[in-house]
Amino acid sequence: MSAGIVLVTSDDAVMWLLAAGPAGAVATYWALYRYYRNTDKSHAFERDTLIQARPVEGAQEKVDHISRTRDSDIDGDNSSDHRSRVERLR
């Protein structure tokens, strides 16, 4: 059993090492492409507009507990992705 896991772990390491070449090639392509074409750029209106905000109000209520998970963060974290729209309440 333990020999099997050691084998799997060392296989994983080999896989990661072998993936370095293709991953590096793809990353190089995209980095250069974006530097030339700037397809990801847009006006940062959230930052560059004159905004006067009142203090943020809100509440939080505990609704559940996760006792054991391998995920290091919440699924679908969009707290920093300000432009991804979610269900609109009218």
Partner: protein, 425 residues
């Protein structure tokens, strides 16, 4: 039944045709129509009363050869060198004030709905010699009389969206724009398409006034989602390897924020408003913002020597864009209040109450170098904000060189990986 369009009144009516003005109204409807308030005028009247369509003379010498002097931001008479400028709309129309008290949708007269059936081509009678001179307002708001050489201007607001409320004059000169475009492109030479490099002539850059709607708004945004706070973290041995596990409390998170925005700038031309990957419009979008506080009252002499693109989107068309941007701004405002949730927050629902908005149309100055790439049928831009100098561009790439560079890097990395594996073996 089709409703009457504004342009119908101007067309000559066939005298033989029967008169039809809709089905007869009931007595109640007739009475309600009689009691109704008159149609409201524009919320902010921005017409520059001192100017007319046609000749506009220098206040000192009466010459009509007037244009912008970019280095001073003032209008200059090319005959007597007298300089003057229009007043800033910020103070003239009180645009910087009262955002907290905005109610409903307030629209300045130059941002009124665009009438689709109004002809862009306007014929002016030259006040100097009486000749008829044609101006295509879709691209220009000045013309020179071909007989007596007077400059004729369009200054009255027309329903086709060509004359805005305000204009922000060019500040960067042509030479400065050329320099910035050259600098931008020279940093991107190695992998640029060879044909682009061969045909690159930055001196061909054009000064364009692009149409924008500048919006002040008062809003309240609310968000509902789930947030998680880690309560425990531990590792378990599984044979020779170890696995990390987490425990967390799950919260329902509510946040709301009331805020005002001053001079949010939105594209007013449909061609420019599409920001997907099929175009390079995001380039022109990226050079925002402009110092819109310095925009001045409309005077088409500021446009002499430049081209312009007329607005074809209305306030109604852009309301969803405004709401989308306000929701994004609200999200960025509440971001800092989420620091307790170390495992992150997933927003699931959002709501926007738009208390009030004020819309003003402006021409904003852009130096635009464009290049049409034939094989991909893509129009590339290098754009310079003619106020701040911010430069952004899209340079067509040579796919072969890019792939070769990527393969080289990949091969080197793979070689290192192979060496490491050999070492391990």
């Amino acid at each position: 039944m089709t409703s009457a369009v504004p342009g119908d009144a101007q067309r000559p009516r066939d005298p033989e045709a029967p008169v039809f003005d809709g089905p007869p109204l009931s007595l109640e409807e007739e009475l309600a129509a009689a009691r109704a308030e008159p149609e409201p005028g524009p919320d902010i009247e921005t017409v520059n009363e001192s100017l007319a369509d046609g000749l506009n003379r220098c206040p000192k010498c009466g010459g009509t050869d007037v244009r912008l002097r970019a280095s001073t931001g003032m209008l200059v008479c090319l005959f007597c060198r007298h300089q003057w400028q229009e007043s800033r709309v910020e103070e003239e129309f009180g645009l910087g004030e009262g955002i907290e008290e905005l109610e409903g949708t307030v629209v300045a007269s130059g941002a009124d709905a665009v009438a689709a059936d109004v002809d862009d081509v306007v014929t002016l009678t030259c006040g100097g010699c009486g000749a008829d001179v044609v101006v295509d307002t879709a691209h220009s708001l000045n013309a020179r009389c071909h007989w007596c050489r007077h400059t004729l201007n369009i200054n009255q607001q027309t329903p086709n969206g060509a004359v805005p409320d305000a204009v922000l004059p060019f500040k960067l000169t042509h030479a400065e724009a050329v320099e910035r475009i050259r600098e931008f492109a020279s940093k991107r030479r190695l992998f640029a398409h060879p044909r682009f490099k061969r045909e690159f002539v930055p001196e061909n850059v054009l000064g364009v006034y692009l149409p924008y709607l500048v919006v002040d708004a008062r809003a309240e945004a609310a968000y509902v989602g789930r947030g998680e706070i880690q309560t425990r973290r531990w590792t378990e041995k599984q044979g020779d390897s170890s696995v990390t596990y987490y425990a967390a409390d799950v919260y329902r998170v509510d946040r709301s924020v009331a805020f005002t925005v001053d001079d949010l700038t939105i594209e007013g031309a449909a061609d420019r408003a599409v920001l997907d990957s099929s175009t390079t419009n995001n380039i022109v979008n990226t050079i925002l913002p402009f110092d819109t506080k310095n925009a001045v009252k409309w005077n088409s002499s500021y446009l002499v020597g430049f081209t312009s693109e007329k607005r074809d989107l209305d306030v109604g068309d852009l309301q969803p864009v405004l709401e989308d941007q306000l929701l994004s701004i609200g999200r960025s405002q509440v971001r800092e209040s989420l620091s307790d949730f170390d495992r992150g927050v997933r927003w699931e629902q959002e709501r926007l109450d738009l208390g009030g908005s004020r819309w003003v149309s402006m021409y904003l100055p852009v130096w635009l170098y464009s290049y049409y790439q034939e094989n991909t049928k893509m129009l590339h831009y290098i754009a310079v904000n003619a106020r701040t100098g911010e430069t952004m561009g899209s340079v067509p790439v040579s796919q072969w060189r890019l792939v070769a560079a990527a393969l080289t890097v990949g091969t080197v990395l793979e070689g290192i990986a192979g060496a490491v594996l050999m070492g391990m073996a």
